[in-house]
Point group: D2
Amino acid sequence: MKIDKNSISDYNSQYKDTFEQEFRFVSDSLEQKGLNVESVVKKISDFQVAIPSWALGAGGTRFGRFSYGGEPSSLEQKLNDIGVLNALTKSAGAVSLHIPWDIPDDTQAIKEIAESHGIAFDAMNSNTFQDQPGAEETYKFGSLNNTSKNVRDYAIQHNLDVIRIGEELGSKSLTVWLADGANFPGQLNFQNALKYTEDSLKSIYQYLPEDWRMFIEYKPYEPNFYSTTIQDWGTSFMLANACGEKAFTLVDLGHHLPNTNIEQIVATLLLKGKLGGFHFNDSKYGDDDVTVGSIKPYALFLIFNELVYGMENNPQNPSLAWMIDASHNIKDPLEDLLQSIEAILIAYAQALLIDQKDLREAQLQNDVVKCQEILQDAYRTDVRPLVKAARLKANAALNPLDAYRSFEVRKELIKERGNKTIATGL
Amino acid sequence: MKIDKNSISDYNSQYKDTFEQEFRFVSDSLEQKGLNVESVVKKISDFQVAIPSWALGAGGTRFGRFSYGGEPSSLEQKLNDIGVLNALTKSAGAVSLHIPWDIPDDTQAIKEIAESHGIAFDAMNSNTFQDQPGAEETYKFGSLNNTSKNVRDYAIQHNLDVIRIGEELGSKSLTVWLADGANFPGQLNFQNALKYTEDSLKSIYQYLPEDWRMFIEYKPYEPNFYSTTIQDWGTSFMLANACGEKAFTLVDLGHHLPNTNIEQIVATLLLKGKLGGFHFNDSKYGDDDVTVGSIKPYALFLIFNELVYGMENNPQNPSLAWMIDASHNIKDPLEDLLQSIEAILIAYAQALLIDQKDLREAQLQNDVVKCQEILQDAYRTDVRPLVKAARLKANAALNPLDAYRSFEVRKELIKERGNKTIATGL
Amino acid sequence: MKIDKNSISDYNSQYKDTFEQEFRFVSDSLEQKGLNVESVVKKISDFQVAIPSWALGAGGTRFGRFSYGGEPSSLEQKLNDIGVLNALTKSAGAVSLHIPWDIPDDTQAIKEIAESHGIAFDAMNSNTFQDQPGAEETYKFGSLNNTSKNVRDYAIQHNLDVIRIGEELGSKSLTVWLADGANFPGQLNFQNALKYTEDSLKSIYQYLPEDWRMFIEYKPYEPNFYSTTIQDWGTSFMLANACGEKAFTLVDLGHHLPNTNIEQIVATLLLKGKLGGFHFNDSKYGDDDVTVGSIKPYALFLIFNELVYGMENNPQNPSLAWMIDASHNIKDPLEDLLQSIEAILIAYAQALLIDQKDLREAQLQNDVVKCQEILQDAYRTDVRPLVKAARLKANAALNPLDAYRSFEVRKELIKERGNKTIATGL
Amino acid sequence: MKIDKNSISDYNSQYKDTFEQEFRFVSDSLEQKGLNVESVVKKISDFQVAIPSWALGAGGTRFGRFSYGGEPSSLEQKLNDIGVLNALTKSAGAVSLHIPWDIPDDTQAIKEIAESHGIAFDAMNSNTFQDQPGAEETYKFGSLNNTSKNVRDYAIQHNLDVIRIGEELGSKSLTVWLADGANFPGQLNFQNALKYTEDSLKSIYQYLPEDWRMFIEYKPYEPNFYSTTIQDWGTSFMLANACGEKAFTLVDLGHHLPNTNIEQIVATLLLKGKLGGFHFNDSKYGDDDVTVGSIKPYALFLIFNELVYGMENNPQNPSLAWMIDASHNIKDPLEDLLQSIEAILIAYAQALLIDQKDLREAQLQNDVVKCQEILQDAYRTDVRPLVKAARLKANAALNPLDAYRSFEVRKELIKERGNKTIATGL
């Protein structure tokens, strides 16, 4: 299934008039406030978020899984799915692979498929939280933090393999997420676990290609329920510093304790030049991995406020690797991803509307009421016409979700692939 | 300080053109979707939220308090402050008094002042969490749940006194918030504490005037840090049922454990006809009592979705008592309240835009994606022109906060009252 | 694998002297305080906790599962595993079955095996959170709360089937745990979902045999991540009241929001005669289902304090159904269960030491310091000799875990069953 | 009021026989396991925890305060109160002062009083979270992080004043706790606030005497309810590194988000040689500041496990500054502190019982069950006789709380000071 440019043009034509009316209204009122709307639209249009290969099939919980028809059962099919997302939005121009689930049989062929969809290879993900059939060592009691040197070496080697595969595909970064930790007090010697982790990360880092970056993820709990060795940004930051200048912290929105002020963490990392990547999702209770913006859209906006500020003011921080890391337990995965992309672009657009100069002024005067007004004014603006304008500019669909449904994509995929496929991986 | 109608008309005239343009745009696009905009505007206009007398001065924390100039030091001045809010918004047409802080010296005079501002007397609040100078009994170890019959009787009598004062003023309801609980395991016999509370509430209830209602508030912790006797809606609901049909549960947004799904509680209480009142505020960590909508505006919208549904579909539930229960630690209290009122009206307006028929249809088809789209479409709409329209209709200010500042209200209040007054109460 | 009485006697003989010394010391000092040690030991000895059939194999998370050797692959083998636990502890004399995982092929044979191990059939568990192969309806969008009458009827019928199977085995209760809820705002109409749930539960209730009880479990989240229809004790209590006097609330320790005061909920339910059952486990973050007492043993003690009080003072509440509901992700399941049983008995023993008369006196005097001292004195006492005495009395092993290891039970089970079996169910 | 040695000897004599019996029993069974009981007792006896001067009066919440009779109203009286605690326990041989509440009028006299009680001057605490009468600048919008250079300089100068006063008294460390943060999104520019804080801390640090240490406290929220500039250990650690080798992180048990694994933070800081001090208290919900060990004693034990390990294995980390930072809302403050001291010593003693060699061995074998057994065995041991032995050795009371009551200390204090004194400070 591939959506061609013409179908999108045809689809758009029916909504163009309404769109133009909306856009003119929003655009006019923003220009009146002194905003450069064209520049905002361009920024939205340039924003690209990677889709992880594992997000294209139905997710599940420890209580079970309800599968979805037409799930992709090969890397090729996963790329085709992302191709659909990218054709509809022109904001999903990258894939993030997971090894060993996505080892290409024919690298060249895979690169060509990706290219045909305009998809780049973003960060590579290693997996040291599951045992693969035939594995020589087990990660049951940890990987990079394991008390056994053999297991640590095995996990390090796996990461080096992932880098090699990534190099062939043209990726430029490695994301290390470690489930390593303990389910019970006493199980781990915290100090040794941390030292082993640091040493192992350094071992991987020393083989990192010159133009690559390494992202170190953190998470307070799950799948371990007492402690996780890299439990918070502070630990990740410390380890990234220990590794070197190509190592960075990666923030996943769902990986925080209740009530954490995530935007402040983002600001700190940007100031220190150590924010490497960002995994989008949303949650109400734990690492729920639900659709971006479906639970706390204002928090997402506040985070984007810091990101926009950092991208403007922190040359010390490299450009960021964006990825959607959600799980789709009851929705069509592609529809869910379209909703996530929309929520991301909306939050980004709102953040771009913040009058940074006024805000700075109000902060200097400790005019707390006005600071809040400035943020809420941006947030309460209906920015959807700006997002649509960005899409129109890029030949994407004005209303991607509606287009997806009107093109009957899922029906087509089920016809192609059947109702019982299961996406590789989780 | 009193703001007259003419100043507001003058103020509005300068923004009228912009407003009309905005309103027409939003109104047109909503009407096109089949919405009755006039009815929405009317509902917004009819919405009245009570201001508690204690919210007009600076709040504080256990670490101290930074006072504000021009704070009201008498009940008269408090009413005048609410008069300002009501003149600017026409949405603050009620006061909620706290006894013993607000015992009127001259009831008739107070009633006249209130009437002159268009302010009704909403729920009366009793105070059994502090000892007043000269008190015969101490609430240090509880009030209605106390092991001592003398203390319980003393607290019951206080509530009866509050009812009497309320009757003279024309109030029709009593809100009982109990700090009663324990700071340490073992301190309380939970079963006895609950039984005493139930008996005490019944004693108060039996003297409740025929046309009054009693609201029973719940809260998980603070000021007690191990247990609170009425810790959750389930306990409050049980007690309200035990008292009788004039007893209801009152929901304060800040009185919940982390991650609680409050909108579901609201729906349950509405279904059972036992939701009596609502205290608005916002919070990130605990009972932070910050400006409504300043932290989790989407959660507020979801709650209003349930309220709108209930007001439409639950004749078994009486009309609700709305109140803002926030604390103003660093903002001008009146500005803070204006921001809260705005946030409430915006959330209410957004909830009124939800297409309940489409939503019902999507729910029946388990079209989860569409359900979300319907809610988000309403939420993402810029409804501020609708709120302004409601205000214009009622002769309130188009932009209350801006008007407040342009009228230099605080400067005036400081001139009148001085810089060192302290609001009675907390 | 079956452990006979003689091996246990032999095992115990080597520790008898040390035990007797310890017991005499503790016993003497408790008797001196006026405690009836014999009665305490008898109560400990009488305490029986059910083992759920699904807890005998390795658990897992959504990120994967590390299997364990010698897992039981049939109901017979599960009963044999519990037989081992019961022989070692004489506190695990019941099993809680899960349908459809544990439908007996030959009911009579199963009953005989159970009897040979001294195992009774405790509460039956229905499963409406997963779709079984060939299922006619799907629970993807709910079961008893589903918008579709067909699905609700299907789920009701399943519960009636479970009752029937339970009757044949001699069980006397049904536990209903519902995953029903929503992953996203808008997905569910809360009021209808609650009404459907109530109606469905009543339909099941009306077929409940005269001498049966129905337990209604609650849980705030997981596997649904936005709302769960029976989200808290208040909802469960309301539903149990609506069903009738044979319906009760069931408390699972892991099913609460952060910081919930569970012991207060227990006290309230006991007072109202509506506490039906109890699922033991422990957790630090969410429903982690780790070993009982491994994270918050003092909280467990405080809960037992309420349970002991209720069993003594609340004739209105029936005797409770106790069960361990833990998951064993990295430990040998049987060892994990032995640790859980030990933790339960220790907490129970400590609670039995509390001087209720002194506590009552201190509470009446508001001597908070002394209340705490009384609880802590009981908690700080080393009660392990009392638990051992109870076991010795019942011909169980003095040190069950040590005995399990010295008998090389797991090695034996692997020899019998192999290394690759997978327990039926999750 | 001063308790002399003879009264304590007399008091002890009546409990000596029972004590000796208990001690012999515990001691024998521990020695049999290979433990050096004498060394454990010595370590307990050496342990000294500072009492903060503000903890000797009744605390309160934002809802009010219930005062206590006989509260100390001068620094002299505060030292006398600590003298009572130290006489009874010989574990409270230090005071931690708070400036400006405790500025001595006559330094020499104060030093003599302290010496007469065996009290050393531990860390000095500065106060930049409240405005003092006549203050030239206000901390309403922050101190070391303020946008105004004048305010920052004022706060820096205050800290230098505190150092000067501390030097005169013989203190060797400064604790900086900052309330600095924001109540609302937008109020603060996070990056600037952090930079200002870093610069201000460095300014203070450069005047730190050669043999002093600076402790940087962190806290996620309260009194600010949206963000705190030093929100977590990671931020504090980063700032301590930026200042230099005499700067350290200070951990206060109550300053963490729900469910934080604090013991892991402790281990990380010890490994990095950056753990400076420790504030003991306990909490169920937020920074509740209740009696140490009254809510989560097992968590306290796990933390002590890390501390004991670090004191043994981390020469890179300096000796720690221990302090009790609790608030006494309804208990006699001195009784509350006695309960806290007892809980600390018990947790310390339990941690000292852990067989580190066995634990290490079990960890290397991934014998998770055994790891847990080792910890629980230590925790379940009744160590009170060891704590008593340590006290007896030091001429302290065998049962300090009981002795306090039998000496009628509070009655005496009320006689001396009256019923209406209010402790200076909060």
